[in-house]
């Protein structure tokens, strides 16, 4: 079995967001990590490898520095790494990112593609399903459990109040939740081995069956009109009222904020 896992290098927002003195986000001071949902997807692939035997290829799109997440994936046990990097691919929205990754994956053999549900920097959850559309294969999002049965996968697909047990013929794309598993650690020796291996680097010219019009900033249908860093909040209101008035005050605020 051949499994392709898509991973993204992201700023570590969960591990402590750093702010500039003016309240804006200090991106330079933030460390980068492998996106947590992607890491769960990789772990799922590695478990399938342990259980059924598989070749796991990790694909990432990003700056040359994104090579680090491929090394990390290989230190965890992935077999191959592919870095898709090119200036013309920069500034891509989810549409252009998914066309790019699909263009890269067309060069690879695969039975299963696993992506994370969403990246913690963008939180869109769109790239996985969009890749499946470009490749014309089934998608099962929000996987909380993955099994292989012959030429099919059987997945527990999570919804808000239930889950579906879904069976799909391979090839197929699955998006993984970080709740899916507890990803393994790298091993010290694995790290040194990972750096001894070759990584495949692909640019625009290596992408298969992709139109220039669908790549990079130019090929992105969505455009950023305005972006601002949320200013950290300070003290809000403080009231001193009798108990009944206090209660109405809180209820009103919760209504305004759509909590109730």
């Amino acid at each position: 079995m051949k499994i392709v896992v898509c991973v993204k290098q992201v700023p570590d927002t969960a591990g402590g967001v750093k702010f500039n003195p003016d309240g804006t986000l200090d991106r330079g001071a933030m460390l980068t990590i492998m996106n947590p949902d992607d890491k769960a997807g990789l772990e799922a692939a590695l478990r399938l490898k342990d259980q059924y035997g598989a070749e796991v290829t990790v694909v990432t799109m990003g700056l040359p520095k994104a090579e680090e997440v491929l090394r990390e994936a290989m230190a965890m046990g992935a077999d191959k790494g592919v870095l898709v990097t090119d200036r013309v691919l920069g500034g891509a929205d989810t549409w252009a990112t998914s066309t790019t990754l699909a263009g890269a994956i067309r060069n690879l053999e695969y039975d299963l593609i696993i992506t994370g549900r969403q990246a913690i920097d963008g939180d869109t959850a769109q790239v996985g399903p969009q890749i499946s559309e470009h490749l014309d294969i089934p998608v099962i999002s929000y996987a909380q459990d993955i099994k292989i049965e012959g030429d099919s996968v059987v997945v527990e697909r999570q919804y808000e109040d239930r889950y579906h047990v879904v069976k799909a013929k391979m090839p197929c794309l699955i998006t993984a939740l970080s709740e899916l598993n507890e990803p393994r650690y790298m091993t010290p020796g694995g790290i040194f081995d990972a750096y001894k291996q070759e990584i495949t680097v692909w640019g625009r010219a290596d992408l298969k069956d992709v139109d220039d019009a669908n790549l990079g900033l130019k090929g992105s249908p969505t455009k950023i009109a305005k972006a601002s860093d949320k200013v950290r909040k300070g003290a809000g209101e403080k009231v001193s009222l009798d108990p009944d008035e206090s209660v109405s005050y809180i209820v009103d605020k919760l209504k305004v904020k759509h909590v109730i």
Binding site: E68, R71, E72, A75, Y185, M186, T187, P188, G189, I191, F192, Y195
Partner: protein, 383 residues
């Protein structure tokens, strides 16, 4: 000269740090409080290869360099001094001498499971009457047919009772050296469970309280002849060479403790307010932190240099002694200042610096006191 770490080393550090934060730190207070050996953590580390970092792959290890190993002990000790010393004693004091002096059979039998973490190792040199002065040894080994018979005791043994494999030193005779009779010391590999090998009292310590420190007792303990480690009579050299490596481990532990205390203090002084300002806004605090950070970095450079020396040099006694001397004293100084900057909170157990200060003290004492390190260093200067 380039002081930047390779990408591999950076990633290895990230791994050790993540493991320490997620798996070790949450238990550090409890391990200290209850004085219970963190067996589960050791098992997790075993699975990840942390117990065989500098051991070659063909012997079940990770095949990494001594610097990677030192960084592992450093990162573990940043959050828990106990966990740091467990790895250090196992790796430097048990795996390393078997790797260096063991026969192929001994390596297959003992080093492979040690490096894989299936077994834990310890080292028994110190005796009640023989700490720094190895010539004061009393434990004896006598060859009787195909077996060595051990009698005597060892004290303050890290990983005692928890470990499965022990490198033990004992007198095997006397030799004349420059006209004086001297004890001839040899090294042995002793397995837990060997009849006649028992454990005495568990020590109650000031710091590193989760590490298991026991007295080892040998009463007509018979071990196979082939468990002699290295040549007969070369025990003193084996012990000294092993301790050179061990000192790099302890220096890394001391370094980690100092770094951990510094990190905690930096976070604390930004938050703690007195007289309407964060105490980090006071110049006294700032200058203290500047001194602490400078010394920590100097210690780190010495420790890393010693680790690199172990990889590239046959003899690295002086590098190891300097690293241990300085890192241990910096650990004591920085943790003490950290407690002071925390004020009353620094004196209570809820705050980690309290434990770190207690943990730091031992680094000035075990595997050669600071005074012994000064003897080693000055001895080389005046040779």
């Amino acid at each position: 000269m380039d002081f930047t770490l390779s990408k591999e080393h950076e990633m290895a550090r990230a791994l050790f740090k993540e493991f320490a934060e997620k798996e070790v730190k949450p238990l550090a207070q409890e391990v200290d409080e209850t004085e219970v050996f963190p067996r589960e953590t050791v098992e997790k580390m075993a699975k990840l290869g942390f117990l065989g970092i500098p051991v070659p792959k063909e012997y079940g290890g990770q095949g990494c360099d001594p610097l990677t190993y030192a960084m592992c002990v450093e990162e573990l000790s940043k959050v828990c001094g106990t966990t740091g010393v467990i790895v250090s004693a196992h790796t430097s004091l048990c795996c390393d001498p078997i790797m260096t002096y063991g026969t192929e059979e001994q390596k297959q039998k003992y080093l492979v499971p040690l490096a894989k973490g299936e077994k834990l190792g310890a080292f028994g040199l110190t005796e009640p009457g023989a700490g720094t002065d190895a010539q004061g040894q009393q434990t004896k080994a006598v060859l009787d047919g195909e077996e060595w018979v051990l009698n005597g005791s060892k004290c303050f043994i890290t990983n005692g009772k928890e470990a499965d494999v022990y490198v033990i030193f004992a007198i095997t005779g006397t030799v004349e050296k420059r006209g004086r009779m001297q004890k001839e010391i040899s090294a042995f590999i002793v397995e837990k469970g060997t009849p006649g090998f028992t454990f005495g009292t568990k020590e109650k310590k000031m710091g590193i309280r989760g590490s298991s420190t026991y007295e080892l007792i040998f009463t007509d303990c018979r071990i196979p002849k082939e468990n002699l480690l290295g040549q007969q009579g070369k025990g003193f050299n084996i012990a000294m060479h092993t301790l050179d490596g061990g000192r790099i481990g302890i220096a890394s532990q001391a370094l980690g403790l100092a770094e951990g205390a510094l990190d905690n203090t930096i976070a604390y002084v930004k938050e703690r307010k007195q007289f309407g300002r964060a105490i980090g806004a006071f110049q006294n605090t700032q200058f203290q932190l500047a001194d602490m950070a400078t010394k920590v970095e100097a210690a780190q450079l010495l420790v890393y240099k010693a680790a690199m020396a172990k990889a590239t040099q046959k003899v690295y006694s002086v590098e190891a002694a300097k690293a241990k001397l300085y890192a241990a004293e910096v650990a004591m100084e920085v943790t003490t200042k950290a407690v002071q900057l925390h004020g009353g909170y620094g004196y209570i157990r809820e705050y980690d610096v309290e434990r770190m200060m207690r943990d730091a003290k031992i680094t000035e004492i075990y595997e050669g006191t600071s005074e012994v390190q000064r003897m080693v260093i000055s001895g080389a200067l005046l040779k």
